[in-house]
């Protein structure tokens, strides 16, 4: 202070400057800021473009999975084919396999073509327009209602995958010439049937409700078992990861002494969050299946593995939100004579609840989309049986949504590409719903202090 006051001449002489004119330093600063803004906008634009590209490719590939082509057939369920003895014995009826129904479908198809007056040169095997699933559908119907044998019943059956693809633009006349599964004549027949009103494309609920189907009938494949499997796993994860994670975080944050041992635990929890998920799959395989003897492909095992994966996420989020509660609230509670536990449960936890809920739902969303560990514990199996209602259902084999996507992308028939993209859309819809719930809960519980 004093030397400045003593020697005013030491200060550089100030040149007169106008505020209306920018000096060089200000110009450089403004330019730097403008550059930084540009970088930021470019970064945002790149990520938005990537997202738009991803969504548009998934939607353009996958939305068609929600539409399906059906053919209406009047099938005569002849007694000589389905029940030779004529006594409607369920055991005898069950002996007739789906192959026994194939001639009925062929006859029905030929009758339909004749009825509509469709003539196509060189047409062979018109029954190939019908999905293999149709015979199974009729067999189930007959076994459930034996009384219909001998009558003519109108069925709405799935069109074969190639025919369905023709109406979605996947199969063309040109590609059909090189395709052993479908001929151009069959495509022409399909078109003629559509004009005659006996073939239509409409919304496909069975994509969501039906189980997976085998390699050669993509048209019948659905997500039902996968959705239930994923749902069961989320129940297991929520029921285990939320209480364990919150209890661990509260103890570590509020009660545990701060020493080397708790530091070690802390570091390890943070590291767990970064462990590759496949490692959890190996862990689940060796502990839950090989050691504990739980069944393979079961949602309970998947749920346990995903719980292990989700715990670090929940613990980190919960601890962060507990830390963000101002210490004055704890002081206030302790000051009026609340015990430590009362202070935490009456005052700190309610304030931390929005953060905990958000962390939990983010963890669940992560778990919902996780594939790798589930492959190792057998969730990749082909499961057509719906699991039972909980709690037994937790131990029944099931699939999972992301694994179903993985599974379908492995299959040869191009119709499964569409199915896989459709499954991704279903998965995304679930994720969006969960995130919306997280935001709603946050709004609902958020309090200011």
């Amino acid at each position: 202070m004093t030397d400045i006051a003593a020697s005013p001449s030491a200060q550089p002489a100030r040149t007169k400057s106008s505020l209306l004119q920018l000096d060089a330093r200000t110009k450089r600063r403004n330019a730097a800021e403008a550059r930084f803004r540009l970088y930021g906008m470019i970064a945002v634009a790149i990520s938005v473009l990537a997202l738009v590209f991803l969504l548009s490719s998934i939607l353009s590939n996958g939305l068609s999975a929600f539409w399906q082509t059906y053919i209406v057939l009047d099938v005569e369920l002849t007694e000589e084919k389905l029940d030779k003895n004529g006594n409607r014995d369920p055991a005898d009826l069950a002996k007739v396999s789906t192959f026994g129904y194939a001639p009925l479908i062929r006859d029905a198809m030929e009758a339909k073509i004749a009825e509509k007056g469709i003539v196509i040169e060189g047409l062979e095997d018109p029954e190939d327009l019908i999905s293999n699933e149709a015979a199974a559908q009729m067999r189930r119907f007959v076994l459930a209602n034996p009384a219909v044998i001998g009558e003519t019943v109108t069925f709405e059956v799935l069109a074969a995958g190639r025919i369905d693809g023709f109406f979605k633009g996947r199969v063309t006349m040109q590609s059909a010439e090189r395709d052993s599964n479908v001929s151009p004549e069959q495509l022409m027949l399909a078109e003629a049937m559509k004009e005659a009103g006996t073939l239509e494309t409409r919304f496909n609920w069975s994509f969501i409700t039906w189980p997976d189907a085998s390699e050669n009938r993509p048209e019948a494949a659905g997500l039902g078992v996968a959705i239930i499997g994923s749902f069961y796993m989320m129940i297991v994860v929520l029921a285990l990861a939320l209480p364990i994670g919150v209890a661990a975080s509260i103890y570590l944050e509020e009660f545990a002494p701060k020493n080397k041992f708790t530091d070690l635990i802390e570091v390890n929890i943070s590291n767990l969050a970064a462990v590759p998920s496949i490692v959890f799959g190996i862990l689940g395989l060796s502990i839950f299946i090989n050691f504990a003897g739980l069944p393979q492909s079961a949602p309970i095992v998947g749920g346990l593995v995903l719980t292990l994966m989700t715990l670090p996420t929940i613990i980190i989020a919960t601890r962060a939100s507990l830390k963000s509660v101002p210490p004055s609230i704890r002081d206030a509670a302790l000051g009026v004579g609340a015990s430590k536990m009362q202070a935490v449960f009456h005052h700190v936890l309610p304030l931390a609840a929005p953060g905990i809920l958000t962390g939990t739902i983010i963890g669940l969303a992560q778990a919902l989309g996780e594939t790798a560990p589930l492959l190792l514990i057998g969730m990749v199996a082909f499961v057509r049986e719906f699991p039972a209602a909980p709690p037994e259902g937790f131990f029944d084999p099931a699939a999972a949504l992301p694994v179903q996507v993985y599974n379908w992308t492995q299959r040869a028939d191009p119709a499964f590409v569409e199915r896989a993209s459709g499954a991704i859309i279903v998965l995304l819809v679930f994720l969006v719903i969960m995130n919306a719930v997280a935001i709603l809960l946050r709004r609902r519980f958020e309090r200011r202090w």
């Binding site: 002494p257 701060k258 704890r330 206030a332 509670a333 302790l334 009026v336 004579g337 009456h346 005052h347």
Partner: protein, 265 residues
């Protein structure tokens, strides 16, 4: 400073409420409180003054064991409340804090309704047998906190929506709702404007009818206005303790004199 007021004030000799004997406090390796002996009297306002970091807040927080929440803090010596050692192994700090209430520097109402803020302490200590009892306790506490008239029509509104001065009076009401015997105040007016400060000081003056009040303050004027006894802390030592009038007009220790005349601190 209003010397006339100081001289006129009559100090009623009352019994000792809190007695501290050879109290040492360590924060890890730091020796924060060195050998403090003090007798705090009942139905009296005792002010702790001293420069920042001298240990007055630390000592105050020893009196209701709020230092327990700090892992590295260690207290030695005896602090007796009505002759009972509060650092005895058998003493539960929760029970102690019901007897020794505390008001903090920054108003810290719970993010709940005004009613719930005050009712919380009585609820957890089981002081109210019924809803009507609780209503009475809340009203009485809010009246004692001199805030009843302002909030009686909006008890269900959040306590955090009040102004700073109102929040602090709400915190005082919350502290007295549990019927403590001693009320500790850690710079209760430092976040308040002069008008709110005057209201709180008036309140402290009323509270001394029922409680032993210990107040930490940076404002010597405030200490002179509200307290009957003053303790001057410096670098962890209790330098001087005596009648407020005597400390401010005729201190025994040269350090006290330097501080109150503004030469140190």
């Amino acid at each position: 400073m209003d010397d006339a007021r100081l001289v006129e004030r009559d100090v009623v000799m009352t019994e000792t409420k809190i007695a501290a004997r050879n109290v040492q406090v360590y924060y890890g390796d730091t020796h924060a409180i060195k050998d403090v002996n003090v007798d705090i009297q009942d139905k009296t306002v005792t002010a702790f003054i001293g420069p920042s970091g001298c240990g007055k807040s630390t000592f105050l927080r020893c009196l209701n064991r709020m230092n327990d929440t700090i892992d590295v803090a260690r207290v030695e010596g005896d602090i007796l409340l009505d002759g009972e050692d509060i650092y005895d192994k058998q003493v539960d700090p929760v029970q102690l804090r019901a007897k020794v209430g505390m008001v903090f520097q920054k108003p810290n109402p719970f993010p709940k309704s005004i009613y719930d803020n005050v009712a919380y302490g009585p609820k957890i200590h089981g002081l109210a047998g019924s809803k009507a009892d609780l209503d009475d306790i809340v009203e009485k506490a809010l009246r004692r906190g001199a805030i009843w008239e302002e909030v009686k029509d909006r008890l269900s509104e959040p306590g955090t929506g009040l102004s700073g001065g109102q929040q602090q009076r709400l915190c005082i009401a919350r502290a007295v709702a549990t019927e403590p015997e001693v009320l500790l105040m850690d710079e209760p007016c430092s976040a308040l404007d002069p008008i709110a400060t005057a209201q709180v000081e008036e309140l402290i003056d009323e509270l001394k009818q029922n409680y032993s009040v210990v107040i930490v303050t940076h404002s010597m004027q405030q200490a002179a206005r509200v307290s009957q006894k003053t303790a001057f802390f410096h670098l962890g030592h209790l330098v001087e303790y005596g009648e407020t009038g005597q400390i401010f007009t005729n201190p025994n220790d040269s350090r006290t004199e330097s501080y109150i005349t503004g030469r140190i601190g």
